[in-house]
């Protein structure tokens, strides 16, 4: 902390006190700026700078090897004539719209069960949270290949019941389904948030409802759901954004191709393949900005819709 501004000459005590406190706060500001500097540098150099650059690149024809050439909005118009892009959109939307509701329902259900006060609650909480830590990792995506392969665990299990399975990850009709299951399986983080939310609901509401003769379902619908709705909303927004950006699972499970037959071609995977595979970085940048618009749009719709179903207690 700097002391240079503290006056050396003894003056009127009151004035001196005031000046010192101002000096101290100015020194604090400088120290704060110093501590924040690395973060600001990171924000500007690693995030904001490249973002501005990619906005510029999205209006250019850029192959990484030669300087970018300005082509106006052509990359954006080209997207809608690109059948693989449209397919990637469809795959991604299917993935998000199917996996997020299932995941949220499952995590809420489990949170309700755990909230009933199991004896080894911390243990169960950890166990169910574990997949969330692992789910996005390469190791689990490889494991997925093993589980859903032709000779995988799932088929061995089905064989016990005399059902002949097939290579789930290698069939274009089922490959996306295995990724949905993988995403649903990582229900741990919304579950932990739900659990915390359930703990926030005052017991007296339930007690009052019991006295009035409300059953379990009734209590769930009229007490738990409304009071938990901000948490549901939070999880919904977060999971939708996260699912739109899924990359690793599809990349590893499909061996980096989005196959079989583009059935697991997530938006981000196609973006990556366009940028680094086809050296079409201008197009890839335009795709990234379009994804921002999609996610921004979905989030805006969520917020607008939230007025009608999210209940804030205070």
């Amino acid at each position: 902390m700097s002391t240079t501004d503290i006056p050396r000459r003894a003056g009127v005590p009151a004035r001196r006190e005031r000046r010192r406190s101002r000096a101290v706060s100015r020194g604090d500001g400088r120290a704060a700026a110093l501590f924040l500097a690395p973060w600001f540098a990171g924000l500007i150099l690693i995030t904001a700078g490249p973002m501005v650059a990619s906005l510029y690149l999205s209006f250019t024809d850029y192959d990484l090897l030669t300087p970018p050439e300005w082509i106006g909005p052509e990359n954006y118009t080209r997207m809608f004539a690109d059948p693989r892009f449209l397919n990637a959109l469809q795959v991604t939307f299917t993935y998000v719209l199917v996996s997020v509701p299932i995941q949220l329902a499952l995590s809420l259900a489990l949170a309700l069960v755990l909230d009933k006060g199991l004896r080894a609650l911390p243990f169960y909480r950890s166990v169910y949270y574990l997949p969330s830590l692992l789910g996005g990792s390469v190791a689990v995506a490889i494991l997925w290949r093993q589980v859903f392969g032709a000779d995988g665990l799932l088929n061995q299990f089905l064989a016990v019941f005399g059902i002949e399975g097939q290579g789930w990850v290698s069939h274009p009709d089922y490959a996306l389904g295995t990724l949905v299951v993988l995403n649903v399986w990582t229900f741990g983080s919304p579950m932990v948030i739900f659990l915390a939310g359930l703990r926030q609901i005052p017991q007296m509401y339930y007690e009052a409802a019991s006295i009035d003769g409300a059953g379990r379902v009734r209590k769930f619908v009229t007490i738990t759901i409304p009071l938990l709705s901000p948490i549901v909303f939070f999880n919904l927004v977060l999971q939708i954004i996260g699912s739109f950006q899924s990359f690793t699972q599809a990349y590893v499970v499909s061996g980096g191709t989005g196959g079989p037959a583009d059935s697991t071609m997530f938006y981000t995977l196609y973006l990556y393949l366009k940028g680094f595979g086809s050296l079409d970085m201008g197009y890839a940048s335009a795709m990234a900005w379009f994804l921002l618009l999609i996610i921004g749009g979905m989030t805006a719709v969520n917020f607008l819709a939230s007025k009608y179903w999210v209940f804030y207690d205070d």
Binding site: T47, L65, H171, A261, S278
Partner: protein, 443 residues
């Protein structure tokens, strides 16, 4: 790619949820991506050494170890030149190379591949090697031509591979099917034999593995019909009919039982040589690049053999060719082109380097060097060397250098073949789509 995607994800987390999508592109764009990559026009005519050059390559651990040993030997001979190794796996190699070129930080000596060399050469990234002091007198002209475009010699082949049928004679004899005469067999024979083996062999053993994921097969069939996948002018040179016939072979095999069903085929396809039908003793045939014979033999534990591709005698001409495994190129912006050339010359022409490398970068293109290592080769590689010598006389010419954008063709072929195997497209529809998509990619 591994590092970039991790970085992208990390940046995404930092940027917060809404802006995260951008980080991926942000990282793709790169902060240095805006400036031209080639500011210095040419290096000074004489070089000041001691100097340091960087050599980039992709590959497995065994290749990294061998290459490091070669670098050590080179540095011992040329104490004023230091060679800095720069290696990754295949998947990450092209991402890394593209970004380092964009950042004006290209390696001095660059390992290139058939499908990308034209992209890099036409964009001024690679130096014309004919102006540098590299001895190519012992390399066959037709093989050397594979590294040439109209503008010069941008890469020198490290070695050659052939696309061939690998067979497991044990499965043939157990099924009571005779090995075909590979000098006369046709594609129809190939399908028939595969179907026959599947029928006679025990349950779960198939005649062959699907070949439709690799456009090299299409190129061979096209050449047998007097066409070519690409023309000299970098255009598409194959007819819709040929492409449809190429896809049809897979369907015929599927229908006749000669190859597994589509889902199983996809799995086997993704499993590499180790998990292939040949590698797991569950298939009698497979079509592979000859440099995979070692891995296949090791995985199968059997004595596999090489046969010529079908249709070599009943077509207009032979279609098989020797493909450069990879190329050595020198960066156009290298500070030390002469030292780089010296190193490339050493890699190509030094007997010591060849003894360490053996056939890891293909059977050496340098014929004298090839002779020198024959005695050191293991059984599968000896087989490859003999096979190449045998077919060399029948190979008419090398296909032209694939045009810009041909890197996408591998992906297009794989995807359309999958569509055909799952019967979501007919071979005719797939052929039409193939032509449209490839034209767009290379146009």
């Amino acid at each position: 790619m591994r590092t970039t995607s991790t970085r992208a994800r990390r940046a995404a987390a930092a940027a917060g949820v809404t802006v995260a999508a951008l980080a991926l592109a942000a990282c793709a764009g790169g902060d240095s991506g805006l400036g031209p990559g080639t500011e210095e026009s040419s290096a000074p005519p004489t070089e000041e050494c001691p100097c340091e050059i960087r050599f980039s390559w992709w590959g497995s651990d065994s290749r990294h170890t061998a290459t490091q040993a070669i670098i050590d030997a080179f540095e011992a001979e040329n104490p004023d030149i230091t060679v800095v190794p720069d290696f990754t796996d295949w998947g990450g190699y092209w991402d890394k190379l593209a970004t380092s070129v964009a950042a004006a930080d290209a390696p001095d000596v660059i390992t290139q591949e058939e499908r990308y060399i034209s992209d890099y050469a036409s964009r001024g990234v690679l130096a014309d090697l004919s102006g540098l002091d590299i001895d190519t007198s012992t390399i066959d002209e037709s093989i050397l031509a594979a590294g040439q475009t109209a503008d010069g010699q941008f890469g020198i082949p490290t070695g050659v591979n052939a696309y061939a049928v690998v067979v497991d004679p044990q499965i043939f004899s157990e099924a009571g099917v005779e090995l075909p005469d590979d000098e006369t067999w046709t594609w129809d024979d190939y399908v028939e034999i595969a179907n026959e083996i599947s029928a006679k062999a025990p349950e779960g053993v198939y005649g062959t593995q699907d070949y439709g994921f690799n456009e090299a097969g299409l190129n061979v069939i096209a050449r047998q019909r007097g066409e070519s996948l690409y023309t000299e002018d970098g255009e598409l040179g194959v007819s819709a009919e040929t492409v449809a016939d190429f896809f049809q072979v897979s369907l015929d095999l599927q229908a006749g039982g000669g190859e597994p069903d589509a889902a199983r085929t996809m799995e086997v396809q993704d499993a590499g040589p180790e998990g292939s039908l040949l590698g797991t003793n569950t298939g009698a045939m497979g079509i592979w690049w000859s440099n995979q014979l070692g891995a296949l033999t090791k995985a199968s534990g059997r004595e596999l053999q090489l046969l010529r591709l079908p249709g070599e005698s009943d077509g207009e001409r032979t279609g098989m060719y020797l493909k450069p495994a990879m190329f050595y190129s020198v960066s156009a912006t290298s500070e030390y082109p002469q030292a780089s050339a010296k190193f490339v010359d050493y890699l190509l022409n030094s007997p010591e380097a060849a003894k360490i490398m053996l056939t890891d970068r293909g059977l050496p293109a340098n014929t004298e060097i090839r002779e020198g290592i024959l005695g050191d080769l293991d059984a599968p590689n000896t087989l490859v060397a003999d096979f190449m010598a045998e077919i060399a006389g029948d190979v008419v010419d090398s296909p032209p250098v694939p045009p810009n954008g041909s890197g996408d063709v591998a992906e297009i072929t794989e995807r359309l073949n999958t569509e055909v195997l799952f019967q979501r497209l007919t071979p005719d529809q797939a052929a039409e789509q193939f032509l449209t998509e490839v034209e767009a990619a290379i146009g």
